[in-house]
């Protein structure tokens, strides 16, 4: 059984007392779906609805333009930075083992800072705290490269259900997801829960899962972060974007990961 299947299995069996331990770990995952939520077995990745050419590009690392960012990320992983003169590799050694599964369970709650951090936030935290270097600005090429490299180590793994201490953040993200915003007065849910699969002008509306980020978007001709994608959707709604890195985006990311729990990580994916 794949990890994803296993999680679905546990969810379906969630009412059995024998699963008490699993329920405890997966308490957030087992939270009942609300009206309007996509049933777990109907979820599909943006990959599933995109054209054959774009899929082929994602399937083949030599054709996936994001591979260039991965190579940069790999080099940056071993590059000494900051006043401490340390590289990521000095603390974490081989990313293939130390970073395996990390992106599949982020954003995570950082107790020291008393706030949730996404991968970008965590990388910047390591920069300031351990490397004594400046944090990298959002969408900076090096930050994207490192984030893509870290996320790559989780490719194929199931998105982990967020732990209990993320519940308030996930709830906050859901509230933003369901709130109507902007001059067009739309909510994320109206497109991604209620109308996925339908067409908005020429593009099919995906379910809006975060499992491929950072990813190469043909329209951007670049790798971009999940926050960049969310900002694009807000611009489409003619709503005011949040500042990149703001708690609102991290909460939305956490909710989207909850919503996509059990789905497979594809980072760095390709999207039209």
């Amino acid at each position: 059984m794949t990890a994803a299947r296993r999680i679905f299995h546990i969810l379906h069996a969630a009412s059995l007392p024998a699963c008490a331990a699993a329920i405890c770990i997966l308490s957030l995952a087992a939270a009942p779906l609300r009206a309007g939520d996509i049933p777990l077995n109907q979820r599909q990745s943006g990959y599933d609805t995109m054209g054959r050419d774009t899929r082929a590009m994602q399937d083949d690392d030599t054709a996936n333009p994001a591979t260039l960012w991965l190579l940069d990320g790999e080099a940056l992983w071993s590059k000494k930075e900051g006043a401490a003169g340390k590289a990521c590799a000095d603390c974490h050694t081989d990313a293939a083992t130390s970073m395996k599964g990390v992106a599949a369970r982020y954003p995570a709650f950082n107790t020291k800072q008393n706030k949730p951090l996404d991968i970008e936030g965590r990388i910047n935290n390591c920069r300031t705290e351990h490397q004594q270097a400046q944090p990298l600005p959002f969408e900076n090429k090096d930050l994207l490269a490192l984030t893509a490299y870290v996320a790559r180590q989780s490719r194929g793994m199931a998105i982990a259900p967020p732990p209990e201490n993320m519940q308030p953040v996930v709830d906050q993200g859901r509230a933003i997801f369901e709130k109507r915003q902007g001059q067009l007065n739309l909510s994320c849910a109206q497109c991604h829960d209620d109308n996925w699969g339908r067409k908005l002008a020429g593009s099919a509306i995906p379910q809006g899962h975060p499992n491929g980020y950072p990813l190469y978007r043909l329209e951007w001709q670049s790798v971009g972060s999940l926050q960049r994608r969310l900002r694009n959707c807000l611009i489409g709604m003619r709503a005011e974007g949040y500042a990149l890195g703001s708690p609102e985006y991290v909460a939305l990311e956490a909710f989207l990961m909850w919503r996509a729990r059990g789905m497979k990580m594809e980072s760095p994916a390709v999207r039209p």
Partner: protein, 167 residues
């Protein structure tokens, strides 16, 4: 913002070239945008707005252009419109606009565009002539309706021409 073009020019030694006419055009368009900011009151009578928002009938040809333009009318993001075949990328979130003028009287069409939420509170169709009750509107759109009263009259005049063709 009441600097005259000559006032602007006096700040620089070299003539500003195309910049100054550009600024004049910008200021003029800002003034126009401000004029369309305000949503004027209108009366709803039996699920319709019977009177023109401008006091004049709209122009169907201009209305068609607004409906066809995904950046201006936005209609084709959601609606298909078999009567506008030259526009390739049409949405399928909402009914085809063909025949709308047979299904609704002109005052009903007007109210639908002005505030579709009056018919269905959960509709995804935006209210085109409304600035209140919205959250976190992008700064370049704040205080402005999606379309001006004139544009709405044009759109309504166009929709009214869309008659069901009897086979």
């Amino acid at each position: 913002m009441n600097r005259t073009p000559s006032g602007l020019r006096s700040h620089s030694q070299k003539p500003a070239g195309t910049l100054v006419p550009g600024l004049v055009a910008l200021l003029a368009s800002l003034a126009a945008a401000q004029a369309q900011d305000r949503v004027k009151p209108y009366a709803v009578v039996r699920e319709a707005i019977p009177l023109s928002l401008t006091g004049k009938p709209g122009d169907p040809a201009r209305g068609r252009a607004i409906v066809a333009n995904r950046q201006v009318g936005l209609c084709l993001l959601c609606h298909s419109a078999s009567i506008i075949p030259e526009e390739q990328f049409q949405g399928d979130l909402a009914p085809d606009l063909a025949g709308a003028g047979s299904r609704w009287k002109i005052g009903e069409l007007r109210l639908r565009i002005v505030d579709a939420g009056r018919f269905n509170a959960n509709t995804i169709m935006p209210a085109y002539y409304k600035t209140g009750g919205l959250t976190r509107v992008g700064s370049s759109f704040a205080g402005k309706p999606i379309l001006s009263a004139e544009q709405i009259e044009d759109v309504v005049a166009y929709l009214a021409t869309l008659r069901e063709v009897k086979k």
